[in-house]
Amino acid sequence: INHVMHNGGLYKRPFNEAFEETPMLVAVLTYVGYGVLTLFGYLRDFMRQWKIEKCQNATEREEQKDFVPLYQDFENFYNRNLYMRIRDSWNRPICSVPGAKVDMMERVSYDYNWTFTYTGRVIKDIINMGSYNYLGFAQNAGTCQEAAAKVLSQYGAGVCSTRQEMGNLDKHEELEKLVARFLGVESAMAYGMGFATNSMNIPALVGKGCLILSDELNHASLVLGARLSGATIRIFKHNNMQSLEKLLKDAIVHGQPRTRRPWKKILILVEGIYSMEGSIVRLPEVIALKKKYKSYLYLDEAHSIGALGPSGRGVVEYFGLSPEDVDVMMGTFTKSFGAAGGYIGGKKELIDYLRTYSHSAVYATSLSPPVVEQIITSMKCIMGEDGTTVGKARVQQLAENTRYFRRRLKEMGFIIYGNEDSPVVPLMLYMPAKIGAFGREMLKRNIGVVVVGFPATPIIESRARFCLSAAHTREMLDTALKEINEVGDLLQLKYSRHRLVPLLDRPFDETTYEETED
């Protein structure tokens, strides 16, 4: 289903998102595949129980055998019988900087993935299409690393105290001012972990008697934060504005479920780019709805900050909107800035409140100083304040890479989900055997990819996910595309029925973004 929307002038640019439907034959075969695996799973469990086959799972202590079992047998069925077979596609240990090319430690398994041994050999120069390195700041040399090294020798690695006690360094104040300037908001606050930013601040903002409207495919941290807050949670279909509007209308008209009292607040939780789908939130429409129904918007820009927008300011800039319309702008420093941690930006009252009542400010350690310095240097680079145009060049390179890569994959005939401008590219695999095969074949050809299956995705929609980076050169992308093409033919992954006619190779269209005159 292709959407090209120019919704009454709300969108200043075409919004191309596509989620091609699963071909019927493929769906049936996938279910058959899972059925066979389940049957074999039962058979092997039976054999293990009757000691015909050796049980290689770790077991409970002898002294505690009469305790209530810690895990239900059935919970681990999936783990034992399906996950174990293809376990070598995940948790691959690397031993170099996670840049465009990475070195991996070779590991083999002599007992079908139950245990791994490291051969000691290092596989060098694998093209890295799995790390979240959108702007290529994962570097071990250059201005960012030098600045971080200086701060490390001056301040040390840890902080040993919480923000409200003795952990608020002058570096943190500097960082927060910079983040506020970068986002175009009044004030910002930084935290030590992106996941914890969500799970510790949503409970501080909403509580019992409030309503949370959360997208179907929100990240685990948003779901956990919503649950911990104690508010009522209602889920709307992924990126579906009609579903959201209906929920908003019902909420205001009917009030709380049993008492019929009006809700105290309504908070809408959305993400900038959804990492499993590659889709971008329909921000203009969400903001229009939010204004009409007087609710608050919490935007999680974990993947979109730095990756979208002509100057890397995220999804708000991408749509040409004002940051003042978003009540809470949250993001992480892990992906585009090559560091760790998260931030929340917004009006001064909001940040003052969070400084006083956020769980993280009171009980959790603040950011480590060299990490703070990395964020400061990389953010200045993106903004152009370090005097070079490196940042701008990287943002443009990422956009170019995204468009090129997606176009070529579509031409080859794969089913690719998501928005044309999102640097997260999911390629559908569907069948369980192909998950393992794709990962292994690509590694043989020196390309590192990420494959995901159930439970991160719906059971038949397993996929391979490519994360593009500004550090990828055209040659690397071409090599990768060539190999993907080969593997696609080998594994019969070219499911798409909308084969595009390959366009004449034209250079990246400069007029797509509004350029300011230098």
Binding site: A149, V159, K292, F337, A340, V371
Partner: protein, 418 residues
């Protein structure tokens, strides 16, 4: 009509206004590293407020190990553990921690708070029962809330109360044996409590464990690297076999002067978290320079086992020196490096207590000893501890400095409280 309702509805403001002079709003600004001599709000003081127990924050070896790692790997890992975020330093740190604690396996988290808050919900689900001490820290409370299990609080360090709850649960079980066979039970305790500075009676807990068939989760954030002859924590302190404890969780932000946390125990238990620990699977891994700093800190701990004895001696010294201050009482064991000083006679309201203690703290900072009040979220804590001043002892403090701190506190209490 519906349109009218939509027009009329007015939500609350997203956040209430915080008054400008709220005590928690104005943070202390530390210029420069938070080491032994710390510059707080422009004044140079001796640091009695950061949990830098073994003084490793400023250690040159730790810093150079971190520098080497920075040169090799850069700063961030750009991915969770499952997707090219596992570095050889992480694997090495996990192995070293497991070997140091003498358990089978260890797992690392990138944030100390998230460690126990992700570990508990990985095992305890809706319908399971958790017996937890009243003085448990906030991270444990959040972990319990996320797990949706039945929580039963027992009075702080009161084994009789715990046994009573366990007996009650036993009689419940006999009424419904089918349900009892699938309900998991856990006891969650801390080795050295952050809120009260005392230890849990671990030998009695082990006896209760085997009598009532409950599993023990031990949170050792403050006792790791402090208690025991080699710093292995409370199990070494009491001489208990470490396999008797099902899960030990600790954060690396206190003794190891790094960031992050770890859990250790038998592979049967720890391996489960690799797929179901939320803070592990859905979050980026620990930056390698912090992991390298932690490995070097572990090396130092293993090579110099006498620092634990030195730390204990200093704790005893200051504990004795702080006795007898008019108006303030010392709360905590004599060997605990994190003590609390509470008001002997509290005024009518908590706010006034907090203001009074703040004046004491300010007096001390103005005269060269950096202290802080223990901060809590008043509305969110299950059992809010009384307001107190936190005193932290580190190996770097000399005996003169300890004495000076005690004298200054006496002076401050005299001038503010009388």
């Amino acid at each position: 009509e519906k349109e009218e309702l939509i027009e009329e509805w007015q939500p609350e403001p997203l956040v209430p206004l915080v008054p400008k002079d709220h005590p928690a709003l104005n943070y202390n600004i530390v210029s420069g590293p938070p080491t032994h001599i710390i510059t707080v709000n422009g004044k140079e003081c001796i640091n009695f407020a950061s949990f830098n127990f073994l003084g490793l924050l400023d250690n040159e070896n730790v810093k150079s190990a971190a520098q080497a790692s920075l040169k090799k790997y850069g700063v961030g890992t750009c991915g969770p553990r499952g997707f090219y975020g596992t570095f050889d330093v992480h694997l090495e740190l996990e192995e070293r921690l497991a070997k140091f604690m003498r358990t089978e396996e260890a797992i690392i988290y990138s944030y100390g708070f998230a460690t126990i808050a992700s570990a508990i919900p990985a095992y305890s689900k809706r319908g399971d029962i958790v017996f937890v001490d009243e003085a448990a820290c906030f991270a444990i409370q959040k972990g319990l809330q996320a797990s949706r299990s039945n929580i039963k609080l027992f009075k702080h360090n009161d084994m009789a109360d715990l046994e009573r709850l366990l007996k009650e649960q036993e009689t419940e079980d006999q009424k419904n044996p089918r349900k009892a066979r699938v309900t998991r039970r856990f006891i969650v305790v801390e080795g050295l409590y952050m809120n009260t500075g005392d230890v849990c009676p671990l030998p009695e807990l082990i006896k209760l464990k085997y009598k009532y068939k409950v599993r023990i989760f031990l949170e050792e954030s403050l006792s790791f690297g402090v208690l025991g002859t080699h710093g292995r924590g409370i199990t070494e302190h009491f001489g208990i076999n470490i396999d008797d404890i099902d899960l030990i969780s600790a954060n690396m932000e206190n003794s190891l002067a790094s960031i992050g946390g770890f859990c250790c125990g038998r592979s049967f238990i720890i391996d489960h978290q690799r797929l179901s620990g939320q803070g592990y699977c859905f979050s980026a891994s620990l930056p390698p320079l912090l992991a390298a700093a932690a490995i070097e800190a572990l090396n130092i701990m293993e090579d110099n086992p006498d620092i634990f004895q030195t730390l204990r001696a200093k704790c005893e010294r200051i504990h004795k020196a702080l006795q007898g201050i008019t108006g303030l009482k010392v709360v905590g064991e004599s060997f605990s490096p994190a003590l609390h000083l509470q008001l002997e006679e509290s005024c009518a309201s908590r706010d006034n207590d907090v203001k009074l203690l703040k004046r004491v703290v300010d007096y001390c900072i103005n005269n060269g000893i950096a202290l802080t009040q223990a901060c809590y979220l008043e509305k969110e804590e299950k059992c809010l501890p009384p307001p107190s001043i936190r005193v932290v002892v580190t190996v770097e403090q000399t005996e003169q400095e300890l004495d000076k701190a005690a004298a200054l506190l006496k002076e401050a209490a005299q001038s503010v409280l009388s």
